[in-house]
Structures are given as structure tokens and as C-alpha cells.
Amino acid sequence: MSGAPTVADKALEILLIDDDLDRAAAFSSALDSSRYHVSHLVSSRTSLLKEVDQLKPDIIVIDIESPDRDILESLSTLSSFNPKPVVMFCEQDDSQLINQSVQSGVSAYVVGDVPGGRVRSILDAAVARFQQYQTLKQELNETKNKLESRRVIEKAKALLMNKKNMSEAKAFNTMRKMAMDSGQKMEQVAANILSILTTLDAQD
């Protein structure tokens, strides 16, 4: 699996959270003279959020047993951070867990001691997989938004037909004309109509 060309040339910042100093050193040296740059932290640092904010890592690598994993998980739920690919170290060989984790927020899963030569390809694959996942999520969101905007337009159209005794075609054309005249999107016009008509209604 290869990453998009735009990414392949860029230097990537890795935040490594691991209490096992030997493993951390081996990991870092495996990435010497590659496009990856490693910053190492031991876990249970109260300032992890600040470090993520300052370092703006492209990838986070963490031991699955680290208490800081809950902080990372909260990056996408509680804070305004953009989601990032996360690679997990694990001592336990459990292929089922590997497959499952890869489907969720975790981008890759590394079991046991990794030969130096493989570290780079694992990271490359994790970045690529993460981008695929984000693209998929974005498409899903766009579909959702499209559906939502269609719903708003339909609702405004029904309101115009109901309150202003317009035909369906007339209601639709009225909104389209308003959108063209004001340089707004149809959805915006529909939302305005809804809020004006319902406010007036409430005051009646």
C-alpha cells in the first residue's frame, strides 16, 4: 500500500509515548535518515495535550497499556484537535485484536518486537489507511449534509405552499430566484424562510 504522492515527500512528525526506553530507542533508530522525525515522551505526563498542541504530530505511536490512551481517545471526542493516525504497540499476539483495532480509531497495530526495517513500512501503511478512513468519513458527512439541506429546502417549500398558497413549482422557483439574486445557496435561503415564517407565526 502506498501513500498519496503529496504525503510521501513530506517530513512527518511522530509523537512516541512509551515507557520502555529500549524499545523507544530501537524505534527511533529504525527511522534514522527517513522522512519520519520522532519525539519521545514517557507516559503519564499531565501535559500531553499541550505537547500534542505544540508538536502537531502527524502520527502518534503509543503502548496499548499506557494510561495516556484515554487522553488520545478524547482528542476526537472532547477537544478541537483534528484526528490523527494512531499506531499501537502491543506485547500480546492476538490477530483478532489487530483486525478489530484497525477498523476503529487505531490505524495500525504492532505486535511484539518489530524488526527495524519493517517500522517504516508499518508507518507508511498507517498513514495511507488513515487517509482512506478520513476520506470515507468525509464522504459520509457530505452525504449527510446533502440529505439535511434537501430536507430544509423541502420544508421551506411546503411552508411557502401552505402559508402563501403557492403551487409547488412557484414555491421552488421563488426560492431559486431569491438564491440567485442574493448570491446565497438554496439551503441558506430555505433556512431564512423557515426562521422568518416560523417567527412570524409564533407572534400571531
Binding site: P67, I71, S74, L78, S104
Partner: protein, 365 residues
Amino acid sequence: MQQNNKTQLQLGFVPLTDSAPLVMAKELGFFQDEGLDVVLRKQNSWATLRDKLQVGILDGAQMLAPMPLASQLGLGGNHASIITPFILSFNGNAITLSEALCREVCQLHGMPLNSLPLPLPASLLKAVIDERLHQGRPLLKFATVFAYSSHYYQLRQWFSDADIELGTDVEVQVLPPTSMVAALHEGVVDGYCVGGPWNAKAVRTGLGMTAVSSCDIWPDQPEKVLGITESWQQANPDTTVALIKALRRACDWLEVVPNRFEAARILSSVTYLNADLDVVAPALLGSCLVHHRLDPRTIPAYNRFSSAGQGGDNNPDPAYARFLLNQMVEAGHIQLSQYQQLDSEQVFRADIYAQALQQVQTAVL
């Protein structure tokens, strides 16, 4: 027990005071009496505990009460059918403020420490927040242990009763329980909502004041539950019943106050919480430490291991699930439609609990 049911189990727990039912069922031989060979596995993170349970590395685990619901909704990870047939504990959390924040509250209201009302209303913090805004100082920062946790919802509720909005007027972040006291000490946070022994620890070390307990915010709501996957329960119906019986005995045993001190001694050990007895015992004995210069508050229900009232039990009533889902909606974690689509009875399995209890009663007859 049927041949195909598992009897050698790995159960996950997080080293907190309310892991008492699992620890005591193991230590007092209650699991063994039910024919179960249980190994308790200490976990450092809720997310990792959840993932291990989902994929079967753990057979069962102590979970935050909202976690089975969050898993069913696919929040923060995979969708997984995690169910709970047993409530392990009620209450047990508290909100602790840093010494510096306490001083700020006292100064602004012209009150000495010993005249602050307890439980502290968040409205007293409102003035501090407004004053800081006026002076252009940063927002107050609070921590909880997990996004989908009672801690988060209790903190949100306490603040919102004083028209303070979490995330807007006060910053909120996640920290592991083991990092809370250090974060308070370093000034990384101004306060937190956490379970025992981490509130008592801050008070004993003179770093903070426990302003309000979760009993003051939501009396008698579930805090920790036993989580298992639906497929595991279907494969091991007899083992599920045996687990419920053993845990029920442990919770009954924990109802007796003198037993609580014995539980505190065992929980303190290196195997479990690895904490001093003087921070583990108070909450178990109904004492809420407040501040190193003030007397503790008497809160008998500070840690409960069965529901309030006569003949309390551990029934995972779906009404509890609906209460939590409502909190999730109010916090903006889920849409109302997600709440409406989730069948609470499929997650909080009162039916399995009732079945286990029936067997206990039949055995007595």
C-alpha cells in the same frame, strides 16, 4: 454448569475504590464457590479495557456505566454489543478544586474557608469565572476520566445548574485517574471529577478541597457495571449466572460497615490499588474528606455497592440506561434520534439478572 461454558475467566478492573465487588469476590472465594477460576487483570485505560473486552482478551470487565451504551452506539471506536447484567456500584465520585481556586473563591466572596457552604454550589465559581474573563485571564480547566462517563455528566450538571457551560465557560479535558493529583499540583488543571481514592489523595496531600460529591449531584445512580459482550453471554449463560451470584454475595458482604474496613485493607495492597489505607478507607466508611484544615463530611452513601433502600439489589434496570442516555443527549454526545433508536432493555439486561436471582432463591428453598 454445562460442559461448554467457560470456567477459567480473565476479568478486567481499573484500580479504583469501587472495584471492591470484583476484588472481594475473588479474595473471599465467592467466585471459587460458584466453580469459577477467575484472574483479575489490572487495566490502565478505559479505552484499552473496552477493546480487550470487545475482542475477547477479557471475558468480562468493570466498566463505567455509560460505556456499554456508548459501545452499542459505536462512539469512539467500533460498534460492539456490550451488555450489562449487573450494577457493581452507585455514587463514589466527587469534584475537587485546587487550593489556589479555593482561595480565589474565598477572596472574591469575602468568606473564610470554614464558612464555605458544602456541598459547594457552582454559582460561587460563576463569580470567579466572570472575574477572570474581565481580567483577561485564561479559562478555568477541569479534568474527567473519559468522555462517556458519569464523571463528565456530573461535572456538566453541577456547572450547568449555575449557568456555566462546560467547554465554553470552563475548559474540560480527559486525564487518567492516576495523573489527576499531579495535574492539580502542577496547575495543569484547576479541578477534576474523579472516583476514589483520588479525591481523598488530593485532600491528604493538602493540594485541594473536595467541594461536592456525586451523591449531591445525582443521588443513587449507577457508577460502575459489569460489562460482557452479548455473544459471550449467549455462549456462556451458566457462567454469566455464576458471575452474578458471586458478585451479589460480595455486594451483600460489602453492605456491612465493619466489613468495609477489611475491604479497604485488601484494596490498598500492591496487587490492587497500591494506595495508602488513609486515602482508601474514608469513602468506604461514609466519610468524605473535604480539606486538610476542615472536618470530613458524613456521607453514608458515598460508595454504595447495591441500590438504596431495604434489601438493595444490583438490578440493571433499563430506567438507569435511559437516565444516562438523556445525559448523553444533554451533553451533545448523541442525537435524540440515536437515543430513540437504542433499545435500553437490550443493553441493561434486567432479564438476565432476574434469572440469576431466581436460581439463588430456588436453591434456598
